[in-house]
């Protein structure tokens, strides 16, 4: 559910940003808080002391999480489709619904 485009002010590593977005302010603040926490964790680990490099490393880390979640979602989708294929023959033909198109 999208909301009218609004401006949400957030702080990331001490810097304030005004973000214009369709998402809710709670969602935007949660995203900014996650990024801020990730950058601060990288800085605290001692991997780097430069905020721009820490931001790049944070972006890499979050992108890695995104790709892993996408793969998990794709695997879950396949399992759901397999379950549907297993159940469909147990139903009368008029109650099986549309067969999903392959691919």
């Amino acid at each position: 559910m999208t909301e009218p485009r609004t401006v949400v002010r957030v702080r990331i590593v001490g810097e304030e940003y005004a973000l214009r977005t369709d998402a809710s302010s709670q969602h935007t603040e949660a995203v900014a808080h996650h990024l801020d926490r990730t950058i601060r964790a990288i800085l605290a680990s001692g991997a780097t002391v430069e905020t721009p490099r820490a931001a790049i490393l944070a972006a890499l880390q979050i992108t890695d999480e995104l790709f892993r979640e996408r793969a998990a979602a794709a695997e879950l989708t396949g399992q759901l489709q397999q379950l549907a294929s297993d159940i469909r023959p147990l139903l009368p033909p008029d109650k099986r619904g549309d067969e999903p198109s392959p691919g």
């Binding site: 979602a73 794709a74 489709q81 379950l83 619904g97």
Partner: protein, 155 residues
């Protein structure tokens, strides 16, 4: 729509339809089980009545055989008495008339025994006819129950 969400909604719909089908099957199974219990009860009842009727028929048949044997004996006795009377009348109609008249009470007693045996025979024949009618009804009921069982098996 996201592929995982679409897959989930499709699976959810199928599971709901499957649940409905299982409810239908459960209702059918319960109905069939009740029908089987009803037929089993009918069979037990029919067996009980059939056994009692067979026993009663056996008793009636035995009684009929006894009655027929008694009737045959009585008929033979009556025939002997008639032959003896005819012989006496033929040999000494006047001289032995008094003696013959003296035997009349015995002959009358024989006639009463004949009538009693005839009545008993008629009663036993009536009982036998009634038993046949009841046996016929029982056979009809057993036939009906078998038909019901066959129809139940075909469902």
């Amino acid at each position: 729509m996201r592929p995982d969400l679409a897959a989930f909604r499709e699976l959810d719909a199928l599971v709901r339809r499957l649940t409905e089908q299982m409810a239908v099957f459960r209702r059918r199974a319960l109905t069939a089980e009740a029908r089987v219990r009803e037929l089993e009860h009918g069979i037990l009842e029919a067996r009980s009545v059939l056994t009692a009727t067979r026993q009663e028929l056996a008793v009636l048949t035995e009684s009929r055989e006894h009655a027929l044997a008694a009737a045959r004996e009585a008929t033979a006795a009556a025939r002997s008495a008639r032959e003896a009377l005819a012989e006496r009348e033929r040999m000494a109609p006047a001289a032995d008339l008094r003696a013959t008249l003296g035997d009349l009470p015995a002959l009358a007693a024989n006639s009463e025994a004949d009538a009693e045996l005839a009545n008993e025979n008629a009663r036993l024949v009536a009982q036998l006819a009634e038993a046949r009618v009841r046996t016929g009804r029982m056979a009809d009921r057993v036939r009906f129950l078998r038909q019901q069982m066959m129809q139940g098996a075909e469902r």
